[in-house]
Symmetry: C2
Subunit: 150 residues, 2 copies
């Protein structure tokens, strides 16, 4: 029960942190917004992932800074997936809006794992960072597999 | 003297918050990164500015959320203006790299004003938000006038 309560609190905190009432002047702005937020997130996540895989020399300070930015960015794209933003210059599949609850679950999973990665990166233990990168990467992949056009 | 010390501390804090050692796989990524960060910032700033000018109904919660995101984003674009990122799909003028100290000063001014806007938005007083939006907008304009191609 305690675990469930902790989970629920975490999810509530996440939901509250997302500016769901964000408004965009036009659908194209919303599409560009989510793509921009995801790109900034991906660049920061990839830097940490590169260190985890040994492709980039491990720098604890840079890893922590990058993971903190990636975690912040993980909260932003979702405001750009509102109704009417399925058409345009986008790889987002129509299934996002047809299966919104599933998409939202993926989005929450990713934010939770990205949060854990930020905790690991701030603590600076490379083994823990590697595990967290793996878990976070799997949430990215699940969502891309189901909801992003090839 | 006290004022100078406060200023220096503020500038030091800002400089520390910027991941200056951020690395990009290629120059195009750096360019897309700074453009993406600036777009996410601009969308959030514009929402608050729209409320300040009366174009959008004032919603204190949304204004505060948006200003906090805009402040966070204001720290990110600068990592994308490294050496060799002057050529490509960009409106950034060569003067940015020729007059780097001036550009950096503008960047710092904008971050300081965006920080003040976030403070005002969290406090929720619309008159103070209006003043802060004006001051922040002027720092955007100064930099665009000197360093962004028309």
């Amino acid at each position: 029960m305690k675990k469930l309560t902790t989970c629920l609190l975490a999810v509530t905190a996440l939901t509250m942190a997302v500016p769901t009432s964000a408004q965009f002047a036009k659908a194209d702005d919303a599409i560009k917004y989510r793509q921009s937020a995801l790109f900034v997130m991906q660049q920061n996540f990839s830097r940490v992932a590169g260190m985890a895989s040994g492709k980039i020399p491990f720098d604890a300070k840079v890893a922590a800074e990058s993971a903190v930015v990636a975690e912040f960015m993980s909260k932003l794209p979702w405001a750009g997936f509102g109704p009417g933003t399925d058409k345009g210059d986008t790889d987002a599949k129509p299934e996002i809006w047809a299966q919104k609850a599933k998409f939202d679950d993926y989005a929450k999973d990713m934010q939770i794992e990205m949060g854990k990665l930020a905790v690991a990166a701030k603590a600076g233990n490379l083994d823990n960072i590697k595990s967290a990168v793996g878990a976070t990467g799997r949430t990215c992949k699940s969502c891309h597999d189901d909801f992003r056009a090839k």
